[in-house]
């Protein structure tokens, strides 16, 4: 079943077209890689889909419903959740309270039910010491907390924007396994942005490639990684 679909999605910033005519779809249970060189428009694409910014043109559809101009908080309620490339902890709430926010507002749970839900989600990510301030957390814990906050929304579609960045290889391996388990158990559609191709290769069923805002390739990682246009985009970007 198609969870999320965009048609000709476009967003320009003062002449710079950050996302250009992107049409794609995401299926239930699918882990989709979103890759592309720096500045390709990956984060902007997630911002458009999660409602942080509005598109210049094109449409976004969630489970068959047009949500192109729906505010972010309503999309969260429908079942779209995300994390941020630059961490967005709520500093004046504790770890568990951060996670509860997702459950309280996206699901409309009472505080007690939200706490139970948050504890469950934290357990699935191996988070402990739940009453700590966010200032006491390690980077890995903050990243996990943000995933937990998104999961507490009980989403059907989840975007992870460079969650592995800044983690060492053991931490990365641990998180990959957890994300895989969670996606499987909750039948989530997950969109993953990562620069480390090892992660993409291991985690995703399919990838889309953005370059300068345009979708230039799509398919399983093995296939796409041999695509000459993709190779050139990466080499061109690196040079």
């Amino acid at each position: 079943m198609t969870k999320l679909r965009t048609e000709h999605l476009t967003r320009a910033f003062l002449g710079l077209v950050a996302v250009n005519d992107v049409s794609f779809s995401m299926e239930e249970g699918e882990i989709l890689g979103i890759i592309g060189p720096n500045g390709a428009g990956k984060t902007t694409f997630i911002n458009l889909v999660s409602g942080i910014i509005m598109p210049s043109s094109g449409t976004v559809e969630y489970k068959g419903r047009d949500i192109t101009y729906l505010p972010a908080h309503d999309r969260a309620r429908l079942g779209i959740a995300r994390t941020y490339q630059l961490i967005h902890p709520l500093e004046n709430l504790s770890l568990i309270q951060n996670v509860m926010v997702g459950s309280i507002f996206a699901k409309g749970n009472g505080l007690r039910a939200a706490r139970a839900k948050a504890e469950e989600v934290c357990a699935s990510l191996g988070l402990t010491g739940l009453d700590r301030d966010t200032s006491k957390l390690t980077i890995l814990e903050i990243k996990k907390m943000e995933i937990a906050r998104a999961l507490a929304n009980e989403p059907e579609v989840l975007f992870l924007d460079e969650v592995m960045a800044g983690l060492n290889s053991d931490e990365t391996r641990e998180l990959i396994a957890q994300v895989q388990t969670i996606a499987r158990e909750r039948k989530l559609a997950v969109g993953v942005v990562e620069h480390v191709m090892g992660v993409i290769k291991e985690l995703t069923h399919r990838v889309i490639v953005l370059e300068a805002g345009e979708l230039i390739a799509e398919g399983p990682y093995e296939e796409v990684s041999k695509n000459p246009r993709v190779i050139e985009a990466y080499l061109g970007g690196a040079a």
């Binding site: 972010a72 969260a76 941020y84 709520l90 500093e91 926010v101 997702g102 006491k136």
Partner: protein, 312 residues
């Protein structure tokens, strides 16, 4: 241990507040009423501040409630006691309209429009002089509520404080705490977690303004008259602000501490410096915001809990 201490202090303060009419004469009761009034205003100001929005409009919504109450009695024949909840409803309604218009653009726009509110309401009251009594003010013919009994007026003020305190504690223990803190910390993360920022801010602005209106009603009924200069006085914005900042913002305890400290001092100051005693509050505000933005309660908590190692 810390929590027990807080409980003991709270119980003592509560007992003192209840016992005071039996112990003290008319003047101390009058001072206590003023302190409680400013404390309640300080708490309501802080409640909105927990979302990161600053209102400079306390005096405006307070004064509006005061006029709603006294005009309700004089022009609509309300009983004095009923005019007080009416004042709350009136200020809340005004806040709903204003908030609906301006809470979409926030930050400085919201703050500066609220700064103008007292002045705007004052002009309106001036100009509708046939209805409001204009610049000279208006006197309730039947005089002060409860026949001016000092202890009854004290209980009324305590009741107003109880409403503010109750609301503030409810905010701290309910979804409001999560919504407002999330909005203050990071609006983007809040909105993608499902927080409808506009609605929560509007609700908070309406509730706190309603309580400010209620306090205005209590104030005006305790004196039996209103003039634009007395009920829209800058005191009602400045003192609560200085009290909450000095005590410590973003919680119920700080404004209470600040009000106890500054409230008593302000009565003394008013006698010492009939002109310009407000300069003290201006200076307190400057010093606190520059050197201890978490206030005295924040300092106390920091000292009680020595710095632990930070994980990196």
């Amino acid at each position: 241990m810390n929590r027990n201490l807080a409980r003991v202090v709270a119980t003592l303060l509560g007992a003192l507040a209840v016992a005071l009419p039996a112990l003290a004469g008319a003047y101390p009761l009058q001072v206590a009423r003023n302190v409680m009034l400013y404390m309640a205003l300080a708490i309501t100001w802080d409640m909105l501040l927990r979302s990161g929005q600053i209102s400079f409009g306390i005096a405006g919504l307070f004064g509006l409630g005061a006029y709603a109450s006294i005009l309700g009695v004089i022009r609509a024949g309300m009983p004095a006691w009923a005019s007080i909840p009416f004042a709350a409803a009136f200020s809340a309604l005004a806040a709903l309209l204003i908030g609906y218009l301006i809470l979409r653009l926030r930050g400085m726009y919201f703050s500066i429009v609220t700064l103008a509110l007292a002045e705007i309401f004052r002009i309106v009251i001036h100009n509708l002089h046939d209805f409001t009594g204009g610049p000279e003010g208006i006197v309730a013919p039947q005089g002060v509520i409860f026949g001016g009994s000092a202890s009854a007026l004290y209980w009324l003020a305590l009741g107003g404080l109880a409403v503010a305190l109750g609301a503030s504690i409810w905010f701290e223990r309910s979804k409001f705490h999560f919504a407002l803190t999330a909005i203050r910390d990071n609006e983007i993360a809040a909105s993608t977690s499902g927080v409808n920022i506009f609605s929560w801010l509007l609700a908070t602005f309406v509730i706190t303004s309603g309580i400010q209106g209620l306090l205005g009603g209590i104030f005006v009924q305790s004196y039996g008259f209103a003039t634009p200069d007395s009920v829209f006085s800058a005191d009602f914005t400045l003192l609560p602000l200085a009290m909450a900042l000095l005590g410590g913002i973003h919680g119920t305890v700080g404004p209470i501490m600040g009000a106890v400290l500054l409230g008593v001092a302000s009565e003394w100051l008013k006698l010492q410096m009939p002109y310009g005693h407000l300069v003290v509050y201006g200076i307190i505000i400057i010093i606190v915001i520059l050197f201890m933005p978490r206030g005295l309660y924040g300092l106390a908590r920091k000292m009680a809990r020595p710095a632990e190692g930070r994980a990196e």
